[in-house]
């Protein structure tokens, strides 16, 4: 066959008794799935175009639409499953690299689901977070080895000067999502929510739109390999600077913004021609070794007069422990590590699903290695890559992270349903698109409210779990592996994570 269309993934099930032909679905679907026939006064659906974003299902006033999986099955084959077959069909058709969005969806083991937490019983009282103070305040930055005091006067005076720190009211930050991969309304929502809660959001590699400069006190600016939008005011605007070496969704390759999403505004913010694909180079072409990285870190510190923390973001790969050790010694004030489940706006499917390691193992080995070398205090560790709820956050902190980044979770809070079609630029929810007709759908007032709700809810849950463990300050949980136990993990997993199996006491 010369032309073979892509097999349909979803089937639209329309309940005719409930459908009132109000045509809201017809108007709203950016993929033109639904259409209205005036003659018969009915709505028809072309399931082949559906990406499974659930916008029509959510907005339908009578709940007449259900998005189902296409029941058409290939012959059962454990090796050649449906997804694999469909990918080959697509590639034979187009000859191109398969693109996808969001994070790795393959069934690799999720270590979070194999780790359980402790609680105090009898020997140590648990603390009630509703009635007693429970402290989540976290500082990100380089900490000194020790403090020197001057005892000559009546009151002791502090001699050591602290390096610049970022103060977080809760150990959760918003991960780097570039203006370009997501809409301006989405960026505004993240910025405003970060300001309200007292945490930070990350610009990603898209530069900083002029309307976002007013949120500077809560912004971490990113310097990525493409150096999009990096100029003097940009560096001044950030409360901290993050050098992006890699991200969990596509370790080893650069960012990718398809030309469909490069509108006029994007073009002026990123300083690139309109309509062209924005392909960041794979490495920074001035960072070919660790000493080059040290040069860039100190160049940025000089440019901002040592007033802001400068950190590095890498993807979690096999040698993450010695790499992070090198980065810390190169002068980074914080290191963000992005695991294999990290999300993206556009990445080759095969890279997203196969390159990188889970963040749980990465944090564990990095934290242990830095402590063994005696340099753990020199940089804060921020963990990222598919953290889904407050339990994952607590486990990440107990394994050794100072704070965590959430990306996918924040998008879901704003409306995303993980249909993985971000690269098309047709996001119905107004998040991963630049089309002004679609971006209107994301009301920053509503999205900010939802993000603030999410962080507030997670913070309360974290306080509950901390109190249950008999701890009233988050720094007593950080790196405290004694509060974790593994269930259903192999010996080597337990060893790498540095935790005991459930059932074993101290």
């Amino acid at each position: 066959m010369a032309k073979r269309p892509s097999p349909t993934e979803f089937i639209i099930e329309r309940d005719d008794e409930k459908c009132i032909a109000c045509q809201v679905c017809v108007r709203m679907c950016s993929n033109d799935v639904h259409s209205y026939d005036a003659q018969t006064d009915t709505v028809f659906s072309d399931s082949g175009k559906c990406v499974g974003c659930h916008f029509c299902e959510t907005i339908c006033p009578t709940g007449a639409i259900t998005i189902g999986r296409n029941p058409s099955e290939f012959k059962l084959n454990a090796n050649w499953n449906a997804q694999v077959i469909k990918n080959i069909i697509k590639q034979a058709e187009t000859g191109g690299v398969l693109l996808t969005g969001m994070g790795c969806d393959k069934p690799y083991p999720i270590y979070w689901d194999h780790i359980v937490l402790n609680a105090s019983q009898v020997t140590n009282p648990s603390i009630d977070p509703l009635r007693e103070p429970m402290e989540l305040c976290t500082y990100i930055g380089r900490k000194p080895d020790k403090l020197e005091m001057d005892y000559s006067k009546k009151e002791p005076q502090l001699k050591t000067k602290l390096n610049p720190q970022l103060k977080l009211e809760t150990p959760i930050l918003f991960s780097a999502m570039s203006y370009g991969s997501i809409s301006l309304n989405a960026c505004k929502s993240l910025a405003r929510a970060a300001g309200e809660i007292g945490t930070f959001y990350n610009t990603g590699e898209g530069g900083l739109h002029k309307e976002l400069y007013k949120y500077s006190p809560n912004t971490i600016v990113q310097v990525a390999s493409g150096r999009f939008g990096v100029h003097k005011e940009y560096l001044e605007a950030g409360a901290a600077i993050e050098i992006k070496i890699g991200q969990g969704a596509k370790p080893g390759i650069g960012g990718h913004l398809p030309g469909e999403k490069v509108s006029e505004e994007i073009s002026s913010t990123r300083m690139i021609p309109q309509g062209t694909d924005a392909l960041s180079p794979a490495p920074h072409h001035d960072i070919y070794s660790i000493e080059d990285l040290k040069q860039l870190i100190y160049a940025l510190k000089e440019a901002t007069r040592y007033k802001k923390p400068v950190g590095v973001k890498i993807a979690a790969v096999h040698n993450v422990a010695p790499i992070v050790s090198g980065i810390v010694r190169a002068g980074a004030d914080f290191v963000a590590i992005d695991g294999i489940r990290g999300g993206t706006g556009a990445a080759p499917t095969v890279v997203r699903d196969n390159v990188g390691i889970p963040i749980e193992l990465a944090i564990a080995v990095v934290d242990q290695r830095l402590r063994e070398e005696g340099i753990r205090n020199q940089a804060s560790i921020i963990a990222a890559g598919g953290l889904r709820n407050s339990a994952d956050v607590i486990k990440a902190i107990a394994l050794g992270a100072d704070a965590i980044y959430i990306g996918t979770a924040a998008l879901v809070a704003m409306g995303c349903s993980l249909c993985q079609s971000c690269y098309t630029g047709k996001c119905n929810w107004g998040i991963a698109t630049q089309d002004p007709y679609l971006t209107k759908r994301l009301n920053p007032d509503i999205a900010t409210r939802r993000l603030v709700n999410l962080l507030r809810a997670w913070s309360l849950e974290i306080k509950e779990m901390l109190g249950g463990m008999g701890i009233n300050a988050i720094e007593s949980l950080r790196g405290n592996r004694e509060q974790l136990r593994g269930v259903g993990l192999s010996d080597i997993d337990l060893e790498l994570l540095g935790i005991k199996p459930a059932g074993e006491a101290w």
């Binding site: 020997t123 502090l158 790196g479």
Partner: protein
């Protein structure tokens, strides 16, 4: 002896007495005091620390050793002879007591580090050299344990009620200017001689009532600075924290209290701006040394005795003074048992240290 049945958790009784003028007194008082808190122990551990007891050898390091077997003793002596000059060694005098069933070999050594051995480690100080050798013995020699390793002080401990242990070691016959005592109620069923309190290293001794929920991170924080916690006891972590912060980082006891029992961020707002800066910097730098979970501790070294509670005072501690003497105990009744009319009695607040200091004397 090097048998660790799991981390011990203490729910116990503590006493500390210090004569700040340096005048020494017998161990009879402290035995009476700890005996009054018998209900706080369950017979699975008791111990004492005494300062100023070896005036004849006050410039020599005194190691109190426990040996499970004769071979452990032989191995240890070989190691000690290699690294130190053994000025005197003898059995620690004891009196038979019905309640003390099994006991290991108890020996004490008065030592002087060998110069040529120290030179092998470049600029190592005497203290670090002693710490190194103590850790070697405790981890490498099967069946040997160093109970204390300070100058002119000693730790006497074992499995049994503290008052029985005190009489067993004939502590009424010793005279010291600081005495601390501890009675244990471990929730593990087996006690072992090395696991009783106080925990001693150099001239530090720590008695502790509590359970540290931040143990996992405190231990790893110490690892960053070269301390390996081999014994899975909270007391060990406390001792090393004091050694690191006071001896190595030269921080005052008040500052150490603000690190271990750090005030809440909200309370810091009520302090003066300078104090707030200091407290904030302390917490940012030493956050992993914050000891979370209930504790009351009495820490002693050759010049001081410090009592401290956790930041929300989940365990009891009372303090009292009478003339030159400072008393610390888990209960007021234990103080009044030996000092019926103290000048002042008070309950220290959460995180507020009570510090007794030796007044400077000549000679």
């Amino acid at each position: 002896m090097n048998y660790f049945p799991g981390k011990d958790i203490s729910g116990c009784g503590l006493v500390g007495i210090m004569d700040q003028s340096g005048r020494r007194f017998s161990g009879r008082d402290i035995i009476t005091s700890i005996a009054s808190m018998r209900e706080r122990a369950n017979g699975l551990g008791g111990g004492f620390a005494a300062y100023g007891i070896y005036s004849e050898f006050k410039n020599h390091w005194c190691f109190h050793m426990m040996f499970e077997s004769k071979s452990a003793m032989v191995q240890t002596e070989e190691f000690l002879r290699d690294n130190y000059k053994i000025v005197r060694d003898e059995i620690i005098p004891t009196k038979e007591d019905k309640s003390i069933k099994y006991r290991p070999l108890l020996w004490r050594y008065f030592l002087q580090p060998k110069e040529e051995k120290m030179k092998l480690h470049y600029d190592i100080t005497e203290e670090d050299f002693v710490v190194k050798t103590v850790m070697e013995i405790n981890t490498r020699i099967e069946g040997a344990f160093v109970a204390s390793s300070g100058k002119n002080m000693g730790v006497f401990k074992g499995v049994g009620y503290p008052e029985d242990i005190g009489r067993f070691y004939r502590l009424e016959e010793y005279e010291a200017y600081i005495w601390t005592a501890h009675g244990r109620f471990p929730t593990n069923t087996v006690g072992w001689w090395g696991g009783a309190h106080p925990f001693g290293l150099l001239d530090w001794s720590v008695v502790h009532n509590g359970e540290i929920s931040s143990y996992g991170i405190n231990r790893r924080f110490l690892l960053n600075y070269g301390y390996t916690c081999a014994f899975f006891t909270d007391t060990e972590v406390m001792t090393y924290l004091f050694d690191l912060l006071v001896r190595k980082h030269k921080l005052s006891f008040e500052i150490v209290a603000d690190i271990l029992a750090a005030p809440f961020w909200d309370s810091m707002e009520r302090e003066s701006p300078e104090k707030r800066e200091i407290l904030r910097a302390l917490r940012i730098t030493y956050g992993s040394a914050l000891v979370n979970g209930p504790f009351s501790i009495i820490v002693a070294n050759s010049e001081s005795m410090i009592g401290l509670n956790d930041r929300i005072k989940l365990r009891p501690l009372m303090a009292a003074t009478f003339e030159n003497k400072l008393y610390l105990a888990s209960e007021e009744s234990a103080i009044r048992e030996i000092c019926p009319t103290p000048d002042k009695v008070w309950m220290p607040k959460a995180g507020q240290p009570v510090i007794g200091r030796l007044k400077k004397q000549n000679g």
